[in-house]
Symmetry: D2
Subunit: 115 residues, 4 copies
């Protein structure tokens, strides 16, 4: 399955519920940030070892998968309703980042390119 | 191209820079929320008509594509490093939402299932 | 009561639980964004009239107050642990914004100063 | 200076620019999450030692104070426009949290009360 099929499945899900009326760019972006934060909240105050343990717990792993699915849902929906090609956008951004972060200079570095 | 190819491209990008050491679950989730908020910020205080105008402006559209690409990058990276199948996660979540939101009851409704 | 008293109350709350060990700058910033998003989620997909209705519903109003309190908690805690004077920071920022947004030019405008 | 004076200063700042028309609950909540994320982004991928170094750097400390001021601005503005008493909200929430997190049981614990 690729993006086209997933988009179609999401479109059907939304259309039978007539939810397009709520899916403004702003509200879909809100969808992305609220769901991302539900994911982030799971790791709040947790050190690296605890983060690993969380990912090994099947209940919590299910919660994490749920939140990632919600992020993917809003990401695909935003792109689909606004005619944005996500694969092309990613390819363009990776190319830009290859230039911003030359591999020799940024090897093992967590600096931002504009820092 | 499908998720597998995109994952491989992102993996190569990160590995040549030795960035895996920074990509804890917590920091990748931070990636998702910070990039989602850069997208959301574009629409802050804007009404629906202004949101449409923004999406028709080629510079701003480029910014939007950039932010969506960043979200996709962190989403794929999180899933790849933690062995999560995003397509399966989405299918599972859509099935759950079909039950939570029966189409007759939630037609044209923006209520949450637990409200 | 002013910021000093609130800070002291929060400090006591945290110290008796020995929670300072979890309160890194990163995790307190996560606190701010996760709690802000719980607030935002309440208004997701809602139009202006519905937003007003939500604020008139006593249960939902209680939820909103709860989320604002959580944001205030993490804001005060971040500032207190890192010796930042919030009132001074706000005064400085308002002064900067008075220059960035001259009142004649930005009257009734929702443009960003750098747009 | 206390909350009342700060509220008045913010109110004047907004009124002379006629910005109340943009300050819906949803957009003010967006203000909180976007500004919180600008703060969080500063600490992305940084370990604890690096977080401390950032707070000792005077330029970056200025950026942090700026973001905290923005969060405080939107927090006070939300509360002021919707007649919410932040001090009371915080007192109520601390009381609730004292019950949710009995100090003996949650001493040195980063568990959530509902985990």
């Amino acid at each position: 399955m690729d993006f086209t099929d997933l988009n179609q499945e999401i479109r059907t899900f939304c259309e039978v519920r007539d939810w397009g009326q709520f899916h403004t760019p702003k509200d879909l972006a809100i969808g992305l940030t609220t769901e991302s934060n539900e994911l982030l909240e799971i790791f709040r105050f947790k050190d690296e070892h605890e983060q690993s343990t969380i990912l090994e717990d099947s209940d919590k792993r299910g919660d994490i998968e749920d939140e990632l699915a919600d992020v993917l849902f809003f990401l695909l929906r935003f792109a689909d309703l606004n005619d944005i090609d996500l694969e092309e956008a990613l390819a363009t951004k990776l190319e830009k980042n290859r230039e911003r972060y030359p591999k020799e200079e940024y090897k093992s570095s967590n600096r931002k390119y504009n820092e």
